[in-house]
């Protein structure tokens, strides 16, 4: 019988990157930091996870008090390959940063440092980011619980003890669109599954909020109108002055920033009833198709925000 050799045994099972395996087999900065009570030096820890969840991380930071800088970072991790690699990666990334810089580190950056993580393992990178936050809050004397205990701190997933604020953060930072992704990132919904519908609602809500300041959606031109928004607008008829002010506001705050960023602009010329007259500058100068696309995009945005009878006219 022919002999089939094994593939490289270091790369089988999960689809881990070489960087993940390298930091798992030879982790950097493992262990605790002993507090030697040196002057101007603080040693703090941040704990995340639990033994019941299957992974837990205790991050140790050595902080220079006068400069607010991380001098050393070490980790102790109970967990799988990617949990250990993510912890090790985090400690490498934050050494030398100020605490404010460190607080800006996202789970996405940890995953990117590792050359990516399998989707189902993204929660390992989230754990790293949370431990970092916990350690810094701990140092600054901020109650992490209090931070979570706002309106959105309600528990969504009781199997893994995940709050709404945590889900919101991960959805926003990673641009998640499905409940399955949320499960991969923070485990919520991965137990009994009874909260998956709630997670869908949270995602929809985050997406609605994110698209409110026009941002990227106008670029894609195909602006969608959500019916409930239109209904609420139409219940309160606007006076002509209010209407003009609102049109100006929407143009200034939601439309122009995007156009200017792309090299174009728009100026409000006049309003007659539902007809809005504007001066358009397309990104490609006077190219007719480009200004036509712009006109439609602005029109639908104004229709969505003010009244769906609005017509935009170029002058």
């Amino acid at each position: 019988m022919p002999h089939y050799p094994l593939p490289n045994p270091l790369t089988v099972m999960w689809d881990y990157t070489d960087k993940v395996l390298e930091l798992f087999y030879n982790p950097k900065n493992q262990g605790a930091i002993e507090n030697l009570c040196e002057p101007d030096i603080a040693v703090v820890t941040g704990d995340v996870g639990s033994i019941s969840c299957g992974d837990a991380l205790r991050l140790h930071l050595k902080i220079a008090i006068p400069t607010d800088t991380i001098l050393d970072a070490r980790f102790q991790t109970f967990g799988c390959t990617s949990a250990i690699a993510s912890s090790s990666a985090l400690t490498e990334m934050i050494k030398g940063l100020t605490l404010d810089q460190a607080l800006k580190v996202t789970n996405k950056e940890i995953a990117e440092y590792l050359g990516g993580l399998p989707e189902a393992k993204m929660h390992c990178s989230v754990m790293g980011q949370e431990a970092l936050e916990a350690a810094i809050f701990n140092y600054r004397g901020i109650e992490r619980e209090a931070h979570d205990d706002d309106d959105e701190g309600a528990l969504v997933c009781s199997c893994f003890g995940i709050s709404e604020s945590k889900i919101r953060r991960v959805v926003l930072e990673n641009g998640l669109t499905t409940a399955e992704q949320v499960t991969n990132y923070v485990k919520a919904g991965g137990g009994c599954g009874s909260c998956l519908a709630n997670i869908d609602d949270i995602i929809a809500d985050v997406q609605r909020e994110a698209s409110a300041p026009v941002a990227a959606s106008l670029k894609k031109a195909g602006i969608k109108i959500t019916t409930d928004e239109v209904v609420t607008r139409e219940q309160k008829p606007l006076s002509p002055v209010q209407k003009i002010a609102l049109i100006q506001k929407v143009l200034d705050e939601e439309v122009r920033p995007v156009l200017i960023a792309d090299g174009g602009d728009v100026e409000l010329y006049d309003v007659e009833g539902d007809t809005v007259k504007v001066v358009l500058q397309g990104a490609c100068g006077s190219c007719p198709s480009s200004t036509a696309t712009l006109k439609i995009a602005i029109e639908s945005r104004l229709q969505e925000r003010i009244s769906h009878n609005i017509v935009v006219q170029e002058v």
Partner: protein, 400 residues
């Protein structure tokens, strides 16, 4: 690097004699066993012989054997058949530690008007026969349990269960996928009505299995079509697979006594030495009533996937019940049902031996495991039960 394969409850090496027996049916003997001509007919005869070989391993009559595609099909077919045969009864009894091929069928039946009792298990993974007895009613159509657990090797007292099932008038199906070839079976003196086996767990290839159905038990097929398998499983026979399963059954019967003795001896040595050389680990399951080839050991304070990956560096193949290896975020439903503490549960490793396992392989495992465990424990923030972080954490709760 050579492979040390201690994952035989997942699947087994195909015996070279089995390969030899099946290959002609992939090449020259390609006839259809149902054909009238001699060319097909000779294949039909070979299928009949394979059926006899399987029947011999089970202590059954060849007319009581239905060839299937796998263990999952056998379980599905048996459960459906039992319910169709007794349309007025709407209750099923099973256990919390079944294979998904039974558990998920039962869960689906709950949405189709059936009620299901999931019997609990104790810390050793054993059933409470009083709980079983109390669950049986005149409305119970079927009791379906495994013979031996795939994760822990815990063996259920099948005949004691069967006696109680018979008194209630229900049918009794047993998933014997892990037990066959490791425990002597004799259907002639058994209370079991239907019994599932799978080829690839006994050194035959994947894609073949068999279902034993006691003569006299009313059977309705899952697959409807031609007259194959006496109308109880339509579809042209997987002839090479059937021949392979027949040969594998013959070899199992031949090896059973001597091989299981050898495997048990090696398993016991592996287990004892691991427990004595590595602190803070324990055996999961019922040490007395257990498959001779299986040991499931919980290495406290560390996680299974990480252990497996370090074992993999030495070519050692095993399995874990940890969350990260289960394909979901929850650790093994079997170990949770047993109420194991999480300190043990996530670090559980299953070693399952076969007749190909050697003493030298066990030596290698014994040599590398202490270092692997020590290395991961050095990384872990929990390294003893007194670790402050562990004190306020909940321990295992059995829930489905």
């Amino acid at each position: 690097m050579s492979v040390i394969y201690l994952d035989n409850n997942a699947t087994t090496k195909v015996d070279p004699q089995v390969v030899e027996a099946m290959v002609p049916y992939l090449s020259e003997y390609y006839g259809n066993p149902s054909s009238m001509h001699t060319f097909g007919g000779q294949v039909g005869k070979a299928v009949k012989q394979a059926r006899e070989q399987v029947a011999a391993l089970l202590g059954a009559n060849e007319s009581e054997i239905i060839f299937t595609s796998c263990g999952t099909e056998g379980n599905n077919a048996a459960i459906r058949a039992a319910l169709l045969a007794q349309p007025d009864k709407k209750h099923i009894v099973t256990t919390q530690v079944e294979h998904p091929a039974v558990l998920n069928v039962c869960k689906q039946l709950e949405t189709q008007g059936y009620t299901v009792t999931y019997l609990s298990v104790n810390r050793k993974g054993q059933l409470d026969l009083d709980e079983l007895e109390a669950s049986l009613t005149g409305n119970t159509a079927l009791v379906t349990t495994m013979y031996a657990n795939n994760e822990t090797g815990t063996v259920f007292p099948i005949e004691q269960i069967g006696l109680r099932v018979k008194e209630s008038g229900a049918l009794f199906h047993v998933d014997a996928v892990q037990a066959v070839g490791k425990i002597p079976l004799n259907m002639q003196t058994s209370t079991v009505d239907m019994l599932t086996i799978s080829g690839h767990k006994l050194h035959a290839p994947k894609g073949i299995g068999a279902l034993y159905v006691r003569r006299g038990v009313r059977f309705r097929p899952l697959l409807i079509g031609g007259h194959q398998e006496r109308g109880r499983r339509a579809g042209t026979e997987n002839v090479p697979g059937i021949i392979a399963l027949g040969k594998a059954a013959e070899l199992e019967l031949e090896h059973l006594e001597e091989a299981t003795k050898r495997e048990k001896k090696m398993r016991d040595r592996l287990e004892k030495t691991l427990l004595s050389t590595i602190p803070d680990c324990e055996v999961n399951g019922d040490p007395k009533n257990r498959l001779p080839n299986t040991t499931n050991i919980g290495f406290k304070y560390i996680e299974g996937e990480a252990i497996l990956l370090l074992m993999n560096q030495h070519g050692i193949c095993a399995s874990s019940g940890s969350a990260c290896t289960s394909g979901s975020l929850e650790p093994s439903h079997v170990l949770r049902a047993m109420g194991l503490p999480y300190t043990t549960l996530h670090g559980s490793i299953r070693f399952s031996l076969s007749r190909y396992t050697t003493d030298a392989e066990i030596d290698t495992v014994l040599q590398v495991m202490p270092t692997i465990v020590e290395r991961l424990r050095a990384l872990s923030p929990f390294n003893n039960d007194q670790a402050d972080w562990l004190q306020n954490q909940q321990h295992a709760i059995a829930h489905r």
